[in-house]
Symmetry: C2
Subunit: 113 residues, 2 copies
């Protein structure tokens, strides 16, 4: 039991570490939903700053969460695509979306927890 709890906690903390702050999962979700251009991703996430998105996309490219492709048109076109690794977050994101929905429903219904 003790060992198992330690192993579970380690797995949980590994995941939390990769997910990082509040923007990583919304960006992953946006890109997995088909947004490819910087401005599209930015517009799809209200509240994110250009600077923060830029920083996150750089980190995510380094960590192989997104693939960045530069097309040498004029003007230059840059597209971001989700990697397979990026898509492994699907289950977590869906369980969080479900939780958020239930939470909102309960608040609207005025339930006390």
């Amino acid at each position: 039991m003790e060992r198992n709890q330690k192993e579970e906690l380690r797995a949980l903390q590994d995941t939390l570490y990769v997910i990082g702050g509040k923007w990583r999962l919304p960006i992953i979700n946006s890109i997995c939903n088909g947004n490819k251009r910087f401005r599209e991703i930015e517009r799809s996430i209200p509240g994110i700053t250009t600077r923060m998105l830029s920083k996150e996309l750089k980190d995510m490219e380094m960590n192989k969460l997104v693939k960045r492709t530069v097309y040498n048109d004029t003007p230059v076109l840059i597209e971001y695509e989700p990697t397979e690794y990026c898509r492994t977050f699907g289950t977590i994101i869906l369980s969080m979306i479900d939780w958020g929905r239930e939470h909102r429903k309960k608040i609207i219904e005025g339930d006390t927890f």
Copy 2:
């Protein structure tokens, strides 16, 4: 589609907001696993400071994630228990534990994503 994406993002962000930083879910997991006393919870989460756990438990009590009971023995005994609300994070925590396990397996196998 557009509306749906907005609603999903809002639900995701609500959840991320409630989960907050890196300690909230490990603490929820520890208490749901049966750790009741401050020192038990503290010992179950390597790296957490006494100050941080204390702050988190206060916030979590205010937000009805944990129930704090004081038993007037000598010495005073204080126990933390998960509320029903706290247990609603189960699915998210399990999906994160799964992800962390898979991630570690892949790293050990030397897979590139």
